[in-house]
Amino acid sequence: MSNIVDARGLSCPQPVLLTLNEMKKINKGEIVILVDTDTSKENVSRAATTQGWNVKSVEPEGIGYRITVSKE
């Protein structure tokens, strides 16, 4: 079961901030982040990569995206 961060409708830098908080909380595993702009999609993916997390998939969902990141 993945942890879900719903960052839809939130402006910069909330999506990244919420994602990083979740990463700190669970340390490893899988997180699903929901965003609704391309900017947030890029920012979250970039932040995940710099934190050593793997961006597993980015799928369109609704008007935004569903990003899945994971760390072993």
Binding site: G9, L10, C12, P13, R46
Partner: protein, 364 residues
């Protein structure tokens, strides 16, 4: 399309956009814009307020086509790359107030972060205090962000909501064409123009507009943001946006050297004053307000162009703030701060603290 899309989200993408602005801002000065003011979003919004008669400071009245171009260029990019998303409803009144105080702070320093960078690259040492203030204000903002500050979610809305600010900008452009500047006259139809001072100095309309459109387009693609540059570094040690901002300063410095526009010093710098404490203080206020609102004044224009109705409200707050700033004697001049500038900075900081402390969590 995808390759271009990915390119601007990359490190070299943001660097190239910083370089583009770094080349064309000093060139705009060569082509007529005021010194160290090739592009200044705050000053240009202020000039627009003057052109509309929202304030009557005779030296700063001009409907700046760069601003119009920023919004419309971003709109075009958003549609070309299918990123236009009309959204609104994330505490608009707060964004209006933040926009107004951001403008008031910026006009105490005499420039937004863009102009702070351009002033520095033109040799104006006073800009160092402004930039330090900007960093200080953003740093305070990041403390609020870490503490859970946020303005709540925006909602998807009617497409036309996202079109309103672009349409207003289009309207401004039409007004300029119907009522063009008449040499030596302060008014043409409904629009005010400056006969002397910074408002009288401008590149030809078409040049300003085209460069504005190009920057708007590129900045929408790259998410260029001068406040985000510093914020992301302070908050996450993320250097992505910072690279773009630093590139702007370095490239503008080189171009200024080539054009003979680099004049190092503190005294008698163009459209600047030497009251270091208030160059610093004004930008603390502006930096904090930009940080709490999620973007520098340029970024707010680009967001408004891609459909963000809340960013549009921030922009309108800035324009109204400029009116208040000049009508109430809050704005600085080359002689120093205005009669009530310091009071306004303190009230602005208190307002920002109130907003920062009371708007937390509850993002359900």
């Amino acid at each position: 399309m995808t390759t271009i899309k990915n390119f601007f989200a990359t490190r070299w993408g943001i660097i190239s956009v910083g370089a583009f602005i770094g080349v064309f801002a000093p060139l705009l000065q060569r082509w007529g814009n005021p010194a160290n003011m090739g592009i200044c979003v705050a000053c240009f919004d202020r000039d627009i307020a003057g052109a509309l008669g929202l304030h009557r400071a005779a030296v700063v009245q001009y409907m700046r086509p760069e601003i119009i171009g920023f919004v419309l260029g971003s709109l075009i990019a958003a549609y070309v790359f299918k990123e236009f998303r009309a959204r609104a409803g994330s505490a608009p009144i707060v964004r209006f107030v933040l926009g107004a105080f951001a403008m008031i702070g910026a006009l105490v320093f005499l420039g937004c972060p863009w102009r702070a960078a351009l002033r520095l690259s033109g040799g104006d040492g006073n800009a160092i205090f402004g930039l330090l203030g900007l960093i200080g204000g953003i740093w305070v903002g990041t403390l609020f962000l870490k503490g859970g500050y946020n303005l709540g979610r925006s909602q998807k809305t009617h497409t036309s909501v996202g079109w309103l600010l672009p349409l207003i900008m289009l309207g401004f452009l039409v007004l300029m064409l119907i009522f063009p500047q008449v040499q030596g006259q302060e008014k043409s139809g409904v629009l005010f123009y400056s006969v002397k001072g910074p408002g009288s100095m401008h590149a030809p309309l078409i040049v300003s507009l085209v460069i504005g459109l190009l920057i708007g387009f590129l900045a929408q693609r790259s998410r260029f943001c001068t406040m985000g540059a510093i914020r992301d570094f302070v908050l996450f040690r993320q250097t992505h946006l910072l690279l773009g901002f630093i590139t702007l300063v370095v490239v503008a410095f080189i171009i200024n050297l080539i054009l003979g526009q680099f004049n190092p010093g503190f005294a008698k710098q163009p459209v600047a004053h030497t009251m270091s404490l208030w160059n610093f203080g004004g930008m603390v206020l502006a930096g904090l307000a930009f940080c709490l609102a999620g973007g520098c004044p340029g970024r707010q224009l680009f967001l408004a162009g891609e459909g963000d109705g809340d960013a549009a409200v921030f922009v309108l707050g800035m324009i109204v703030g400029a009116g208040i700033s000049h009508n109430f004697g809050l704005a600085s001049s080359p002689d120093g701060v205005g009669p009530y500038g310091i009071h306004a900075v303190i009230i602005g900081l208190l307002t920002c603290l109130f907003i920062g402390f009371t708007m937390r969590k509850e993002v359900a």
